[in-house]
């Protein structure tokens, strides 16, 4: 006999894992489609499900499929097959155990991070009896893979582990591009973890709970946190992009300087694991943003009309659980789409700009917001005061930002004439 919560957790975990793998596969296609849409191209639209063997449609008497290409939907499957059949090559100059460990280290935290997401709210599970044997006992369950008490701190803890895959890959490759890419990625992920942590801290301070389900229910009863803390939500989104090594923060793999960055020496499925890790991190980070700021499965941003019930029972309740999961998933997909949109719109940062953005602006601003929220909680102010504080801090940024001393210009001109680098120089 299984406990109801364990059964539902397992069910949620297995279904959500499949869906996330599907999102990862079709995320690559969506990424290319968004890119082509942004750049006024058509994008991949030829690969159907025959993978070039068009005579199989003739053999199956489905001749109309010879000209119909399923809008390119076969592309991710073809890519996956190609990765499997490529040579899994380990160069002789690498640190072999670490080199093989790194892709696994990259993909494992990515597959664990989303476990506490409360996809479907709470449900009164009626139990499941097969014959006389009670297979699953009845009980009150939460539709999350793991409804942990530590909640969102678990997501933070697990997704921080992603940095190890990058460090180990960069170190083990014994390649200068990979080494520099690994160093850069590490410095970037460490730096952006601080404002990310402070954002989460501020939300915890405002709501007084770390349980993922409670966070959603609070937002469903009231107003989404996005409206109370808009600036914080934008900072969280930015840090999420940086944590996933996504453009405009993809310095770890900027092609012009570092070829592939930390995965330069990786090929076939080992590279694919890094790639899947990146897309899974995107999914997790989008789901985290949805959970903290966009109200999870909530459908009323201002609480003006009644929201979906948090606690459901019976067959109608099961339908509502599916509906809530669908609402959650749609929000996550919208956030992922925004990430892709940002990637193909903004140019990449320079490394010193990236670090300055984290240390000289995001960290002071989030500390300020955190302290202001703490004082607001202490004086029991209305949550709408936080909106005013966010707007005030934004104005303060605009006023104080230009006054901060910037130090010497980085791209200063080398005084060529008269210097020893000058081709016209008479000295040596």
């Amino acid at each position: 006999m299984l406990s109801a919560q364990f059964f539902c957790s397992l069910l949620t975990a297995l279904v959500a894992l499949q869906l996330i793998l599907l999102v990862v596969a079709y995320g690559t296609l969506l990424e290319r489609k968004v890119a082509s849409w942004t750049q006024d191209r058509i994008g991949p639209n030829r690969t159907g499900f025959s993978f070039g063997q068009d005579n199989i449609w003739k053999a199956l008497h489905l001749n109309f499929l010879n000209t119909f290409h399923f809008w390119g939907l076969g592309q991710p499957l073809a890519d996956g097959l190609k990765f499997i059949f490529k040579e899994e090559y380990t160069p002789p100059h690498v640190e072999r155990p670490l080199f093989l460990l790194a892709p696994v280290l990259a993909v494992v935290p990515a597959m664990l991070g989303w476990a506490v997401m409360p996809w479907g709210g709470q449900f009164d599970f009626p139990g499941w009896t097969i014959g006389n044997f009670q297979f699953v006992s009845p009980g009150h369950v939460t539709f999350a893979a793991a409804p942990l008490g530590v909640g969102i701190i678990y997501i933070l803890a697990v997704s921080s582990l992603a940095v190890y895959g990058v460090v180990v890959a960069g170190y083990a490759s014994n390649n200068k591009y990979a080494f520099l890419g690994g160093l850069r990625a590490t410095a970037q992920m460490l730096s952006y973890e601080i404002p990310l942590g402070l954002c989460i801290l501020t939300v915890i301070l405002m709501t007084g709970t770390v349980r993922a389900g409670d966070l959603v229910e609070l937002q469903a009863q009231g107003v989404w946190n996005l409206l109370y803390q808009p600036l914080l939500a934008i900072i969280f989104f930015t840090c999420g992009l940086a944590e996933c090594n996504r453009a405009p923060f993809d310095l770890a793999e900027c092609e012009q300087e570092l070829v592939g960055g930390f995965h330069t020496e990786y090929a076939s499925m080992k590279f694919a694991l890094f790639f899947m890790g990146e897309y899974m991190h995107m999914t997790t980070s989008a789901a985290f943003l949805t959970l903290l700021f966009l109200g999870g499965w909530s459908v009323s941003p201002l609480g003006l009309w009644p929201d979906l019930p948090a606690y459901t029972a019976g067959w109608a309740g099961a339908g509502l659980v599916l509906l809530k999961a669908a609402v959650f998933a749609v929000k996550v997909l919208l956030v992922i789409f925004t990430m892709m949109w940002v990637r193909w719109t903004l140019p990449r940062f320079r490394f010193d700009q990236l670090m300055k953005l984290a240390w000289r602006s995001l960290i002071p601003v989030t500390v300020l917001l955190m302290l202001a929220t703490g004082l607001g909680v202490f004086f029991k102010l209305s949550p709408w005061v936080y909106t005013a504080i966010n707007a005030g801090v934004f104005v303060l940024m605009l006023v104080v930002g230009p006054l901060i001393p910037t130090g010497p210009k980085v791209n200063r001109r080398v005084p060529l004439a008269g210097s020893r680098f000058s081709p016209l120089s008479t000295k040596a």
């Binding site: 006999m1 299984l2 406990s3 919560q5 364990f6 957790s9 397992l10 894992l17 990765f83 499997i84 490529k86 040579e87 899994e88 160069p91 100059h93 093989l100 696994v104 494992v108 597959m111 476990a115 893979a145 793991a146 409804p147 942990l148 008490g149 701190i153 014994n174 390649n175 200068k176 591009y177 160093l183 410095a187 460490l190 973890e193 601080i194 942590g197 402070l198 801290l201 915890i204 301070l205 405002m206 007084g208 770390v210 070829v259 020496e265 076939s268 499925m269 694991l273 670090m355 300055k356 240390w359 000289r360 960290i363 002071p364 500390v367 909680v377 202490f378 029991k380 130090g407 010497p408």
Partner: protein
């Protein structure tokens, strides 16, 4: 005795059980993909193929050599802030209820303000020392 086991499992059910299942799935997924592509793909060795890829240049030194001290400084400042944030989590979880109920709420706020103040001083010191210049 067989009937006893599920009861024990029920009693010791832990919310982390599914996380363990997921961890197993993730490790099997990661290692399995490597093994499958090792079995399916071709395998050809060669002296040139085994060279370090550095855009066609002959590699002159091993890659793991001394690097800029800036990265150590980033790691150290990160530690200061991350430990601070970790200490703040329990406070942030309990503070909203303490601020309403406890008579000592001023003390709880004041201690944390002092704690944040020490970190802010450290941050300003590091800024003054040029840690965040990165040029």
């Amino acid at each position: 005795m067989i009937l006893m086991l599920p009861v024990l499992a029920e009693a010791s059910f832990n919310q982390f059980a599914v996380v363990g299942v997921l961890l197993l799935i993730a490790i099997v997924f990661g290692v399995g993909n490597l093994v499958i592509s090792k079995l399916m793909g071709p395998s050809r060795e060669g002296p040139i193929k085994g060279l370090v890829y550095e855009s066609g240049m002959n590699p002159i030194t091993p890659a793991r050599r001394r690097f800029n001290v800036r990265f150590y400084v980033v790691a150290m400042t990160f530690l200061v802030f991350d430990v601070e944030i970790v200490f703040l989590y329990p406070w942030a979880t309990t503070f909203p209820s303490l601020a309403q109920d406890s008579p000592l709420n001023v003390l709880f706020l004041g201690r944390m303000l002092f704690f944040v103040l020490t970190t802010v001083i450290a941050f300003l010191y590091a800024w003054r020392k040029g840690v965040f210049r990165y040029d």
